[in-house]
Amino acid sequence: MSMFEEPFRWMEAISTRHSYVREKLQSGQPVIAVPYQDGALILSFSPQPGKIFEVYDRIAMGGMGHPADVERLRMTLLDMAHLEGFNRSSQDVNIARMLQFGIAPSLKQNFEEIMRAPYLIKLLLLELDRNGHPNFFRLNYDGYWETLKNGGAIAGDEKVMAWIDKKIEETPFATFPLEKALVKACKLWQEGKQQAVSDEDKNGDDPAAPITLKEAFEKWTLEAGVLCAQTKRKSIYRKIDAGEIEKLKTAVL
């Protein structure tokens, strides 16, 4: 007898699937995106680069979860953005359209087709609109997405994520110059990781994972990028360079 004939078994399977994905994502390291006075900033620490990406002229993203799944969604977003930008105009490419009419319905359908492997991801997306105003979005593994007015975070640990979200809301990031926004966002990364209730939770499955900025700078790589309204180029994304990271290290350590 197929489980599709028994609604309860289907609901149970979905519930199990949620538990499975959340458990898999538990050790996911935080990614933080905030506004600053010239645009928007996104950053994260990771053992190897592969969490922060440019998507289109005015769009960037951060990913957390299984790298292969992040990569599949990254490529999907890239394909959608570039095809739309080519067939219509770069001005028609924005995150809300890509999520609402592209990624989110497919992701939800994929999650509820219980014979298919679920995507083990959370994504944080950011863009500067044509007026230079930053928009932030968070996409969950089941296709649910939300807008974040003043920036936000993704993290495997829900408590950590909620705490960083709250602190971002309380901090006037949009008034900060880039250097100050970087320092403050890094400190939120560290303080956020302290919010997990036990040492085991702090590090998830990896007890060697850094929980302080000092450890993070020593063991891992800081990935950071900005969408800067002041650039004259069509593509307004740029990575934070080595010199800026050195200055940041001096400021936070």
């Binding site: 990406f53 440019e54 998507v55 289109y56 002229d57 599949r72 969604l73 490529m75 999907t76 890239l78 394909d79 570039h82 095809l83 930008g85 080519f86 592209g102 990624i103 497919s106 992701l107 994929n110 180029r233 069509k234 593509s235």
Partner: protein, 266 residues
């Protein structure tokens, strides 16, 4: 999502992505047999030459159809990426389409593969588009003869390539021009390079701009399909440079003064 899910890896080729989504650069006209007469690119003058800081690229603004002047503010020097410009001569519809494909191709590759496309790859990408367009070109409805300028970040050198309509690419170390007005100025460029006060590659930016404006005015004098500048109407040639800092177009407000200086002797 299907297209990406079904692929294990991406080549980073935007043209490939376009074709998978059902796009065709050329229509079915190519199967209609060869035209009686092949019409080669006409009705334009665009040029590029090396100067002290990089490459200067310039183009007139006129677009024609036969004997009719259709448009006097055509942009024939087109940004492709931060370090590349393409100057077009030929059928505008095809040329603009190629420029758009190329622009998306370079950016799509850079973003998807997380590294810039090599200069060789960029040069080849335009060659491939021209080759795919041969059918249309030979029927006289889609011939394009472009010049591509790019700054090679690896070797830290600016490069100029010109192409024939079949897709062959040729690197030039001094100067290049294409379009119907180009025969009128190629000799001048060669003369300036060999016997002018300085070789073109040693010209200052100001001298390079002056020369480019004068060359286009000369071409317009002898070629009816190349447009003159009309300062009163704020109509100037497009002048751009490619250097280690990327491309830069000289804006209209600067062109007024630059044009004035260029038109005086000396």
């Amino acid at each position: 999502m299907k297209s990406s899910q079904d692929r294990i890896q991406s080549s980073g080729d935007f043209f490939d992505l376009l074709q998978r989504s059902g796009y065709r650069l050329h229509s079915h006209l190519e199967n209609a047999g060869a035209g009686e007469r092949t019409i080669l690119p006409q009705a334009t003058t665009v040029l590029a030459f090396h100067y002290k800081d990089g490459v200067l690229m310039a183009g007139d603004r006129r677009a024609t159809a036969g004997n009719s002047i259709m448009y006097e503010r055509c942009e024939k020097v087109i940004p492709i990426d931060d370090y590349s410009l393409m100057a077009i001569a030929g059928v505008p519809a095809t040329a603009f389409e190629m420029a758009r494909i190329l622009s998306h191709n370079f950016e799509y590759f850079r973003r998807s593969q997380m590294q810039p496309m090599s200069t060789e790859g960029k040069i080849r990408a335009l060659s491939k588009l021209l080759k795919d367009n041969v059918g249309m070109a030979l029927q006289g409805v889609g011939a394009v003869s472009p010049i591509l300028t790019t700054y090679d970040l690896r070797t830290q050198k600016p490069l100029i390539y010109f192409y024939d309509i079949l897709g062959a690419e040729f690197q030039v170390n001094t100067h290049s021009a294409t379009g119907s007005g180009s025969p009128m100025i190629r000799g001048i460029m060669e003369h300036e390079n060999l016997w002018g006060k300085k070789p073109l590659a040693e010209l200052s930016e100001m001298d390079a701009i002056k020369l480019a404006i004068r060359l286009l005015q000369t071409a317009a004098q002898f070629d009816s399909a190349t447009g003159h500048a009309r300062p009163k109407d704020k109509l100037f040639p497009v002048i751009a440079k490619v250097t280690k800092d990327g491309y830069h177009f000289f804006p209209e407000k600067e062109m007024t003064e630059l044009f004035k200086k260029s038109m005086s002797r000396g």
